[in-house]
């Protein structure tokens, strides 16, 4: 992997933090804009979950990952610790890949 991503993500992430904190300061942002910004994580995380599970390159697929996802959802719903959720989901998928 190239360093480009590391460098630009670091610069960009700091720029956003500073933009609100130092540059804009106490001036108010339009309400609609800040509400939109706060919804971005929900939309993107939803995308990471479904896109990461049901696509392979440019095709839509259902495979072992769907079972892993189901396990993760149940584990997260039962409020298990993050590391347990991650391990259970990964292990389920790995196991299914070995047997199929």
């Amino acid at each position: 992997m190239s360093w480009t991503l590391v460098i630009w993500l670091s610069i960009g992430a700091y720029a956003f933090k500073m933009l609100g904190f130092v540059v804009v300061g106490s001036r108010a942002l339009p309400n609609v804009l800040s509400r939109c910004l706060m919804l971005i994580p929900a939309a993107l995380l939803g995308a990471m979950v479904l896109n990461g599970t049901f696509t392979d390159a440019q095709s839509i697929v259902i495979d072992e990952r769907a079972v892993g996802l189901l396990v993760a959802v149940i584990a997260a719903w039962r409020k298990l610790p993050l590391i347990v959720v991650v391990v259970l989901a990964a292990a389920t998928t790995a196991l299914l890949r070995t047997v199929s």
């Binding site: 700091y14 929900a42 939309a43 990471m48 990461g52 990952r65």
Partner: protein, 227 residues
Amino acid sequence: MKLRIEPEVRPVVTSALALSGAVGVFALAFGVLAVGAGASVWQTCALSFFAFTGASQMSAMSIISTGGTVSAALGSGLLLAARNGVYGLALSPYFGESLGKRLLAAHFVIDETTAMMTAQTNPRLQKIAFWTTAIALFSLWNLGTLIGAVLGGSIDPQTYGLDVGFTAAYITMLVPHLRTKNGRIAAVSGGLLSVVLAPFLPVGLPILASGLAIFIGVKPQRVQASI
């Protein structure tokens, strides 16, 4: 240094440490997953030190791991980082310090420090909450990343289902957003959009495009707010 902690300050410090411990575990997962996605140990650690914003780091690395371009990874990482700008706006009035100190504090403006600081009622506790969380969380985030990245080198991502490990981590991050109706709408429509668009766009771009889902979520809250 005084080690005696006043009763008023104790719960703030305790919850800052507990929160940081949990985040440290998350960092461990990030380290393993990032190295599995193809980043070096140094790159993984540099991301945690300099970018220091969990969800952005994770999403960028998983787009790389699925074969997406650097621009797509950067785009999604930055979109997720944008909310820190909003946190900065919220926290700015609490900080009266010099520009230098504000520039330093800005690096630590993230979900957890914002939540901890805004939960306090007086200016002194707010400061303590912010800095205790910032220092403890930053330390454990970087330590966790390093350990995870070193361990991750000996693991084959596909065999151990690490790709689904990423997904599982996202689910736990997604949970708090599902508490509001708008959050649920944004999450579901963003998710569906990213799958439906997959056959038509290069890898990584459907994730970016899912950001459009926020416009589906905005209007209903407007109506709710006026009630």
